[in-house]
């Protein structure tokens, strides 16, 4: 399940114009990938639409934090 959600997040970030090989589970959303606030909102909206979850994404999170938030929300 973790892997599936990680790939989902990766895919959504790639749709915003980021390279797949830049994205690891330890990548910081802001510090490493450089998503701006509007891009963070867009990822949140995708999660809300596809997982019916309101995740409070913070720019200082890492990708693995986002995956874990979704996993927690699904339980």
């Amino acid at each position: 399940m973790y892997e599936e959600i990680f790939n989902y997040i990766k895919e959504k970030i790639c749709e915003l114009g980021f390279e797949e090989n830049e994205i690891t589970e330890n990548s910081g959303i802001r510090s490493d990938l450089g998503l701006d606030s509007s891009e963070v909102v867009e990822v949140s909206l995708k999660i809300k639409k596809d997982y019916m979850l309101d995740i409070d994404l913070k720019e200082d999170m890492q990708i693995k934090d986002v995956v874990n938030k979704i996993l927690e929300g699904k339980q």
Binding site: E15, G17, S38, E42, L45, K49
Partner: protein, 395 residues
Amino acid sequence: MKNKKLIVTGRGLINPAGNSLNDFWNHILSEKICYGKLNIKDDTPIKVGARVKDFNPVSYISKRIEVKTDTFTHYFLASLSIAMKEAGLTIHNENEDEVGIFYGNNSGGWRICEKGFDELFTQSYAMVNPWQATAWFPTAGEGYASIIHGIKGYSKTFVADRVSSAAAVYHGIASLQNSRNKKILVGGSEAPLTGLGTICYNENGSISNAISEELCKPFVSDSPGIVLSEGGAAIVIETSDNANSLGIAQIKGYATNYYATNQVEGVVACMNRAIWSADLETADIDLIIPEGNGDWESDRIEIEAMRALFIHRPDKLPIAFPKCYFGHQYGAAAVSDVICACMALEYNAIPQYRFIDEIDELFTDKLTSKINNVLVNSRTSAGVNYSFIISRIEN
């Protein structure tokens, strides 16, 4: 206003007739009609329009910018990148404050609006994309161009119907003459060929509702109307003492006015002033590219004005109607016509007009001498006029 010599050093366009200068000009000279059925929805009133073809925005801008912006911004950013390349212009710390952007757009981003409405009405307000406000707005072209290229000079966006990019050229020139900028990037774009866009444009009453590719016939009374089009156009203008190159053409004269009631008088006065500001006389004009858009209500005023101004010419006045091949691009239209003027000067050629025998006998589509000075008009149905004199660069 000081009279500095203004040089066009770069040109770029994304146009239904081609996305490179050569493709565009060859297409125009071969008189190929670049419009066809839009196939938007069976019950929408505008059935025919001119779409840009084979355009991939990420060939010109990053995917990150593409996602956040509407099609009209893609067209401008791509045109600008082509124009800057031809001008050899890059922005750096030393010139970032000396270069301004002057941009025209009439109606903002229809594609992003349709997406936003769909998100709002089929999902919820909380699901509306985060770029709705910034991507829709007509200034997005100027804004993203300044972000991408790091431009910090005095800049403006003009939302002014069919003269949007003519206003951009005129006021951009003023910023050069007033020394607020040393170089300017001028252009415009439009992308109205969506369901909502065509419905709204149809309300102005001058757009063709032809059901097939019926030809737009500028200056002919039974023309079906304006063929709605899309695309972008950009030029780089520099004062001659700041130009990196000898340049392509010179903007020698320019004028604007607003005559709401006697529109013929307004067009005459505007053309006359532009010719006067170039230190020329009517006999010096070798070619005219009029607004001539296929809307008879607009065209008949312009014909009458041109007849009044040029009636005493001993020979026929060469005329070209690029719009009859690729439609009216609104925000991009005037700069596309300025680029056509530059191309006509460069190649000493103009497209033939298949309805030349149906228009006033004062005009011809055959060149009688070398083109040195081109008069370009842009005007709205409300009586706002712009005229420019695009000339061969003097040694």
